[in-house]
């Protein structure tokens, strides 16, 4: 059995013993099972199992979706840099990036299917689409892009030592490989749209002055901010995961210059994002919000969501990491690099949190109170299931597939 | 082999599946519109009438039948059976309505017949001249009617589009 196991592993790399691997897998599998139970309850008994309500119609899950999709942006953006802008150094992480992207998107879609009240009607959106709805845009792009990711994932799987032995698969994989630049292009295009429309999702809510933004044509400013922020967060997340995996597996996976490069890319994108975000915020405070009868300061009068949250988002989790990542000497130090990368990722999460949760917590009716919401265990379990699912898929991919081509050379 | 599989699937999907999907429910009484139209010279609205408030009476209640069939009028065994089974014990006939719409559908015969003067045939086909009433087809999954002459939403929409009639959801749903 151990033999068969090692048969599946890529040549020239060492992996933990089946025993160790099993020990690593088991807790995650357990978590996944528990989460699936929670999700099952929501599907069978209905969404009364959650702590969402008529005021807090969106909760933990939407926050999860927006966040993981932003973090998963690494897939399209790295692909874009590699295949379109020919940044060949990134070949070292592209496979890992694709897998992460696939995990994030499939996880998000799964969560969405639990989140809707009538999963049996999921196809209505495709059959009777309302073209004016950002959610339609999101649904279409994410579905398409998930397929793209799947197709990008296939060759990685087919490269597996055992599967290569089937000739037809080899041919298929070779053909697919020629397709990669096209797919990368398509993927980039789709991603730009759904990342954007995810931002638009809240930006168009004229009934929610805290989230509503003016914009260009049909797209509110958040549309573009989301694209930029996602593009910035993607590489940072890949950086983080790569570092994490090498720490856990105790192996050198990529050449030393790769991670700083990712960091630099992230920093370069983060700075303009912060700039635009600040401008957008100023416009909102001085024109958009007042025009709708809401003085912006009143949004921050409710504890715990004071103005600090805005400050943290822009300075603590934006400007600070950007500056770190843009200074070569700091980039060279892994500690700083990882610290900054984690700041970027947390910043994105915070931004998505503010947009989803804080927006709903703030009252719109003048005689309405501030609303609070705490997810139920079923919600949390479903959330964790997505995380566990990600870890599992990644672990298996890492064990049996070649996620980091450079690992072989580095390990000998 | 691949082809064989494909063909098998196609055959089953097109031939077998509908049989499984639809439940065939026979009508409780072999009623002939034809005979009633010819012999009794009945017109549609004689039995299927509009109420004053504009609602449609649909299939008439038993007393309408009893009006003529208190005693057998003909010699047919079916008529006798009908009288014994329903008229004498005064039991309503559990007719199967081919065109029974889902609960959430609102349809006003008054609007379509009185104002727009659409002929019954337009939706109900030649039901009025039929001599035998076939079994009703009921979708086992959705529980909705799958009978011929069942007007589904597409049929409604087409007609409404052609005539530029109301197109909002709640115009025809409730």
């Amino acid at each position: 059995m151990p033999d068969a196991d090692s048969q599946l592993m890529p040549r020239g790399v060492r992996r933990s013993t089946p025993r160790q691997f099993l020990l690593w897998i088991l807790p995650w599998a357990a978590l996944l099972a528990f989460g699936l139970y929670g999700a099952g309850l929501c599907l069978v008994k209905g969404l009364n199992q959650t702590h969402m309500d008529n005021r807090f119609a969106f909760g933990l899950w939407i926050f999860l979706d927006l966040t993981v999709i932003a973090l998963g942006a690494g897939a399209f953006f790295t692909g874009f840099l590699l295949y379109i802008l020919k940044k060949t150094e990134l070949k070292a992480v592209i496979n890992s990036a694709v897998v992460i992207g696939f995990i994030c998107y499939s996880g998000a879609v799964a969560a969405l299917l639990v989140d809707v009240g009538q999963p049996l009607r999921f196809w209505f959106t495709f059959w009777h689409p309302n073209v004016h709805s950002m959610l339609t845009e999101v649904t279409f792009c994410i579905t398409c892009y998930l397929t793209v990711l799947l197709i990008e994932y296939v060759p990685i799987v087919l490269k597996n030592r055992k599967l290569r032995q089937i000739p037809s698969f080899l041919v298929f994989e070779f053909e697919l490989h020629k397709l990669m630049p096209v797919l990368a292009g398509v993927g980039t295009f789709l991603s730009f749209f759904h990342q954007g429309s995810l931002g638009g999702l809240y930006g168009v809510l004229r009934g929610r002055p805290f989230a509503f933004r003016e914009g260009f044509a049909i797209w509110p400013s958040t549309f573009f901010l989301f694209i930029l922020s996602a593009a910035a967060a993607g590489p940072a997340f890949i950086l983080l995961t790569t570092w994490l995996v090498s720490k856990i597996s105790g192996k050198r996976l990529v050449r030393p210059e790769v991670l700083p490069l990712l960091g630099r890319i992230s920093g370069i994108l983060l700075l303009p994002y912060i700039l635009l975000k600040s401008i957008d915020t100023l416009i909102w405070i001085n024109s958009t919000s007042p025009a709708r009868g809401f003085a912006a300061h009143q949004f921050y009068a409710w504890k715990p969501f004071g103005a600090w949250i805005l400050f943290a988002e822009i300075v603590g989790f934006g400007l600070l990491p950007a500056l770190i990542l843009l200074r070569r000497r700091m980039r060279e130090s892994t500690a700083w690099l990882v610290f900054a990368a984690s700041l970027v990722c947390l910043g994105i999460a915070l931004n998505r949190f503010v947009l989803t949760i804080q927006t709903l917590a703030l009252p719109t009716l003048p005689f309405d109170p501030f609303l609070s919401y705490l997810p139920s265990w079923q919600e949390t379990a479903t959330f964790l299931a997505v995380v566990a699912y990600g870890v599992l898929v990644y672990s298996f991919s890492f064990r049996y597939l070649t996620l980091f081509p450079q690992e072989k050379d580095l390990s000998c | 082999m691949f082809l064989a599989g494909a063909l098998a699937a196609l055959a089953l999907g097109w031939r077998g599946f509908p049989v499984v999907l639809f439940e065939r429910v026979p009508q409780p009484v072999a009623f002939s519109h034809k005979i009633h139209a010819d012999k009794a010279g009945a017109k549609c609205e004689d039995c299927h009438s509009l109420r004053d408030d504009g609602t449609f009476a649909g299939i008439p209640a038993l007393d309408k039948c009893t009006g003529c069939h208190a005693q057998p009028m003909g010699t047919s065994a079916e008529e006798k059976r009908f009288i014994d089974a329903y008229v004498t014990p005064n039991r309503e006939v559990p007719w199967q309505v081919y065109s029974r719409q889902p609960e959430n559908v609102y349809f006003s015969h008054a609007f379509h017949v009185k104002l727009t003067h659409i002929d019954c045939r337009h939706c109900h086909g030649a039901q009025g001249e039929s001599d035998v009433l076939g079994p009703a087809r009921i979708d086992r999954i959705s529980g909705y009617s799958g009978s011929p002459h069942f007007q589904n939403m597409d049929a409604c929409e087409d007609c409404h589009r052609q005539r530029g009639a109301a197109s909002s959801c709640l115009a025809c749903h409730k």
Binding site: G46, L47, N48, D53, N54, R55, F56, A57, F58, D115, V116, G117, Q118, R121, F124, T125, W127, H128, P129, N130, L135, T136, V204, L205, R206, G207, R208, R292, G293, F294, A295, Q298, T359, L360, T364, L365, P366, F367, D368, P369 | L50, R51, D53, G54, T55, P102, E103, N104, Y106, S108, F111, K114, L115, A166, S168, C169, L170, A171, H173, K174
Partner: protein, 261 residues
């Protein structure tokens, strides 16, 4: 307010209706008759044991607000809240991914189709009035009570959104009655939602805002009338009126201070 006094008072068949309400806050005693009548008319199920004010379904919901003054100077007012039938960039209609929500051009009523609804609740986050309600549970009536449901309105199922549609069942009935008499046009007063009919204080006036002669249009033009969150620019068709300045303050203006009320 699009209807101006200069408009002709004759209602031509071509001209679509724009149904709306004017609610007199000085008449409302918060008795809740409108809420109950609404639930009966529209087959809204009673609360599940676990239901709370935030998970219950009340198409028509009466809020109690106070002037914030402590004993003994305190004063209360009641604000009936229902779907405000926004006429411009209707927030919920714009966001629904599958056209389960649309503003009917013939009536101005914002339609919600529970049978088309996916239950994504995007429309609920979009609605500034919290006038949309989600079926968190399967609807359930005590045994026997389901026999008293209104045949003109289809019961909903778990997992979909519903909201006030000006008792569309009553509009259907009125139209059918008119059709039986060979009329296409409805006479004013032929169609009245349940809450309007039930209000013992006669606080709600309902009618066609496009008909400048109608009382509702006249009252809507009145200086005492205002709309809630008017500045959002969604042109709601529910007007409120009061002579009490503090009530208007608390209901109309959106400054934080009154949010504590």
């Amino acid at each position: 307010m699009s209807t101006t006094p200069t408009e002709t008072t004759t209602k031509s068949a071509a001209r679509p209706a724009r149904y709306g309400m004017v609610i007199d806050l000085d008449r409302c005693t918060g008795c809740g008759a409108c809420m109950v009548a609404c639930a009966v008319e529209n087959n809204v199920p009673p609360a599940r044991p676990e239901a709370t004010p935030r998970t219950g379904i009340t198409w028509m919901r009466v809020y109690k607000i106070s002037n914030g003054a402590p004993f003994p100077d305190t004063r209360a007012a009641f604000i009936p809240m229902l779907c405000q039938q926004c006429g411009k960039d209707t927030p919920c209609a714009a966001v629904c991914p599958q056209e389960a929500v649309q503003a009917d051009p013939a009536t101005g009523i914002v339609d919600q189709m529970p049978q088309r609804c996916l239950g994504c609740r995007y429309c609920m986050t979009a609605c500034p009035y919290h006038a949309r309600y989600f079926n968190w549970w399967d609807p359930q009536w005590p045994p026997g009570l389901e026999k008293t449901l209104n045949p003109d309105v289809a019961p909903r199922m778990r997992g979909v959104v519903e909201k006030c549609n000006f008792c569309h069942g009553r509009l259907h009935a009125a139209r059918a009655r008119a059709a039986a008499e060979g009329r296409r046009e409805l006479e004013p007063g032929e169609y009245v939602p349940a809450c309007v009919e039930a209000c013992p204080a006669r606080a709600i006036v309902f009618g066609d805002l496009n008909d400048p002669a109608s009382e509702v249009a006249r009252l809507a033009r009145d200086a005492q009338s205002f709309r809630i969150l008017e500045k959002l620019g969604t042109e709601p068709k529910i007007y409120y009126r009061t002579a009490r300045s503090w009530v208007r303050q608390a209901a109309a203006q959106t400054e934080k201070e009154s949010a504590h009320a």
